[in-house]
């Protein structure tokens, strides 16, 4: 089969289970395509030889009862993988090889998947365009010199470009949903506490959450079913009854009430985004659901709140990268000098900016005015959602205020870059699940996404809504393989 890499995860699993394809064939196909796709710069670390060996080993004694039998998969380089370099897109971890495995990736390998390699991302997941990575920009398969979004840019690019059938990213303020939207793929940010954070390089602990990125909703549901487990090694992991998201997936959303929040109609939002949203409203109505206008009054405070809380936590989380124990170390005259040189040379500009913001907002004399106030506003934002969910089952919004932009277009304007996350950060602040699905194209032919936000622990419901809408939208991603020719 020459079109292996065009197959969805669901199709690949079926073909392997039906013995129409071997793991080796599938793995080889994705390795070949990955080899031809170096221009995308989606990988930081390739583990192809090892992947092929694992595939051969799998085929010798295939366990076809597994959910991901011999499926090759590349993952974001924020997940610690045993014996495979894990960099978080940073120079400071350029030489770091973990001796341990993150819970999420461990869950995946247990179901038979095989690691292809580690995917590029913004440094410590801080960015919206994958331009802060120490390992360079990632190209969007949609068009040359277009950003894939961030921070899970390598993951989005690899899925859209068919370098991996599926992947996992992490989402702190939109890092799964925004790149999914920019690349015409599906990305789910689960409820905070759904997927273990154990073994994921931390950015902002109270917001970070791992999630699946896929070509379609069903694949996404299948992966979510696998990665969402209660983990006692993560104190914020929550022991709730998890659905069989793939098995229970249905397109029957008749009678569901979908909220349309007026505050998401922001100033200067392009008309094509507004049109897309209207189309989305029509789609859910066509599916038999009902839309209700709602208000989330504190939405406009979400972005500033996020840019206090996330850097504050990051400034502390990143203190461990000090050159003492592992990772990059610069020579210094004494301990302080070594710290300063290691961290100045080891961290990129955006990370340093956020460490400084975070340090500032936690400083005595500023703590109350910034951090404490931000925590209070965060509570208000959560309350907005709680109020809304008394009336509706889910909320529909655009995923991003624009389509993908050109590489370099926003690098000198951090605030305009931060505005990319305006529709996604409230979801992280409230700890809710959100999914972005491709819903159309803008005038340039670039994909645009719609976001469905759910109640806490209600991933099944938003997956069902996304599944139903996906059928109606019938989106086709325009991948021309421009980087291969």
């Amino acid at each position: 089969m020459s079109d292996i890499t065009k197959q969805s995860l669901t199709e690949l699993v079926k073909n392997i289970k039906d013995k129409k394809l071997s793991s080796t064939e599938v793995t080889k196909a994705f390795i070949d395509r990955s080899e031809k796709s170096k221009k995308l710069n989606a990988y930081i670390t390739e583990d192809f030889t090892s992947a092929l060996n694992k595939a051969k080993k799998f085929d010798q004694k295939p366990n076809l009862d597994l959910k991901l039998p011999g499926i090759p998969m590349a993952v974001k380089d924020l997940f610690c993988t045993k014996d495979v370099k894990t960099t978080a897109g940073s120079k400071i971890l350029n030489n770091f090889v973990p001796t341990y495995e993150s819970t999420v990736t461990d869950n995946i390998w247990r179901e038979g998947a095989i690691l292809l390699g580690k995917l590029n991302c913004d440094e410590f997941a801080m960015g919206s365009s994958n331009e802060t990575s120490f390992f360079g920009n990632v190209q969007n398969p949609i068009d040359k010199d277009l950003v894939p979004g961030g921070s899970s840019g390598g993951s989005a690019s690899a899925v859209a470009g068919q370098l991996t059938p599926i992947t996992i990213g992490t989402d702190t303020g939109g890092s799964i949903r925004q790149p999914a939207s920019f690349t015409g793929t599906v990305g789910l940010k689960p409820t905070y506490g759904s997927c273990s954070r154990y073994g994921i390089v931390a950015f902002a602990s109270s917001l970070d959450q791992a999630g699946p990125m896929a070509q379609n909703v069903k694949d996404c549901a299948l992966l979510q079913e696998i990665i969402s487990t209660y983990d006692p090694k993560d104190s914020t992991s929550i022991d709730f009854k998890r659905n069989q998201y793939n098995k229970e997936l249905t397109n029957n959303i008749k009678g569901k009430k979908i909220g349309i929040p007026k505050e998401y109609r922001v100033d200067g939002m392009p008309k094509e985004i507004e049109d897309l949203w209207q189309k989305g409203i029509q789609y859910v109505k066509d599916c038999g659901a009902e839309t209700i206008d709602i208000s989330l009054p504190h939405t406009s405070y979400a972005l500033p709140t996020y840019y206090i809380v996330a850097p504050a936590e990051a400034s502390s989380n990143l203190a461990r990268y000090d050159g003492v124990k592992y990772g990059f170390r610069a020579k210094g005259e004494n301990l302080i000098d070594m710290y300063e040189k290691t961290r100045s040379e080891g961290f990129g500009a955006e990370v340093q900016r956020r460490i400084m913001i975070g340090t500032y907002v936690l400083s005595s004399g500023y703590y109350d005015a910034y951090y404490l106030k931000a925590q209070k506003v965060r509570k208000l934002i959560k309350n907005d959602f709680d109020e809304a969910y008394k009336k509706v089952d889910a909320i529909l919004t655009p995923s991003t205020p624009s389509s993908a932009f050109k590489i370099g277009e926003k690098t000198n304007d951090p605030v305009s870059m931060y505005l990319n996350d305006i529709f996604t950060v409230p979801v992280n602040l409230a700890g809710l699940p959100g999914i972005s699905i491709p819903a159309g194209h803008d005038t340039k032919g670039y994909p645009l996404g719609l976001q469905i936000i759910g109640k806490a622990f209600d991933e099944q419901n938003i997956l069902n809504i996304a599944f139903a809408m996906e059928e109606k939208i019938n989106f086709k991603n325009k991948i021309t393989d421009w980087w291969i020719k």
Binding site: C80, P98, T99, G199, A312, R320
Partner: protein, 492 residues
Amino acid sequence: MSKKSSEYLINRKDNQYEVVIGLEVHAQVLSESKLFSTSATKFGAEPNTQVSLVDAAFPGMLPVINEFCVKQAIKTGIGLNAKINKRSVFDRKNYFYADLPQGYQISQFKDPIVGEGKVILDMPDGQKEVGIERLHLEQDAGKSIHDLDPQNTFVDLNRSGVALMEIVSKPDLRSPDEVSAYIKKLRSIMRYLGTCDGNMQEGSLRADVNVSVRAKGSKEFGTRCEIKNVNSIKFMQMAIEYEANRQVDLIEEGKSIDQETRLFDTKKNETRSMRSKEDAHDYRYFPDPDLLPLEVSDEFVNELKNNIPELPDDKKKRFIDEFKLSPYEATILVSDIDTAKYFEEVVAKMGKNKDMKLAVNWITGELFAVLNNKNLEISQSPVSAKNLAILVNLIKNGTISGKIAKTVFELMLDGDKDPQKIVEEKGLKQQSDPKAIEALIDKIINDNREKAIEYKQGKEKLFGFFVGQAMKASGGKANPQLINEILKKKLQ
């Protein structure tokens, strides 16, 4: 409450100064594993052999609270008669140091697990109450070793992440002696509870000492200095003494005291400035987002409360009431849990016809002297409680004299021998047959006729001579009471 006679005051010309002391005691929680990881906590292990990925702050590693340590902290809170907070929060205290792998210490800042409490000190002139401000749980840091190499510093992370209880007193202490009594009392309570071994040599108990001075009678506090990390009671007392005098001298010279952190140099016996208030770290405390607030239920606390052993204050009261000990004796016996256990075992083994006073004297006298000499804990006593009880009973029922008992005791030290057997084997049984003693005395009087006459003529001092001779002749075994009686009769 404390009387004027024992007041600790610093005198200068016409002025008298009172010293105000508050303590932040760091007590290592007695637990097999660390506060947020499963690494062992054994003292004296090879460097960096008790370090998990969490302790060394590897990327993506997360803390998970050790429930046992939480229980230990709550038990200690109960022992300090303190309020147990059902909701407490772990914060991050951020600062950079080579032996602090995370770049922050997980501690409790705004919402500690234990609130206000109190302990009672037994001072020579009566009891004194010392207020407890709070108790919170926190991680210990690792250890930097600067003297192994001229160029490099070595780091041992075995301690990194070990659970500590920081017990903060109110500024209620007024003298080095009170500080000593306070530390001993805290240690005693925690050892009773099994929550801290109190071993100061191994660093299980150390304190930051806050010292200020003020004119006697003043109600306002002076500017305080904090003496960091003092690890023995003696050093605490020396540091306070030095620091209080230093502050008084500054006041007398018309100078002001800077609020600062100081170090105690044990070799020079002086405190030195470490950093001023201006240089104080900004620790940027904020709630640790990796940990949810710690919530404990009433049932959880009550379960612990119901299983609290008898604590020193109650035990002392019982010893006084039940065994008719003096408060002084009771205080000595309850101060250490192992001593109290030993004493209670002796009491139990003595049976019905027991001499409590005698038992106390033997424990606090002979036994303590031996332990002191051999530098042993009472738990390592060469003489078991059972055998000491037998010995005391042998004295009580007249089988041996107190003097012979000392000889027997010496022999017991070698291998915890049964005193009954020693008495039998060595023939040390007391001579209590009046006829035999009479014969013995007759012989002595006969041999010392002149002295007997002198005695009868009024030289009464010679009575002791005859007693001595009789004792000597009996090999020390004759019942001294009988010797006295018979001698008196014969020399009339």
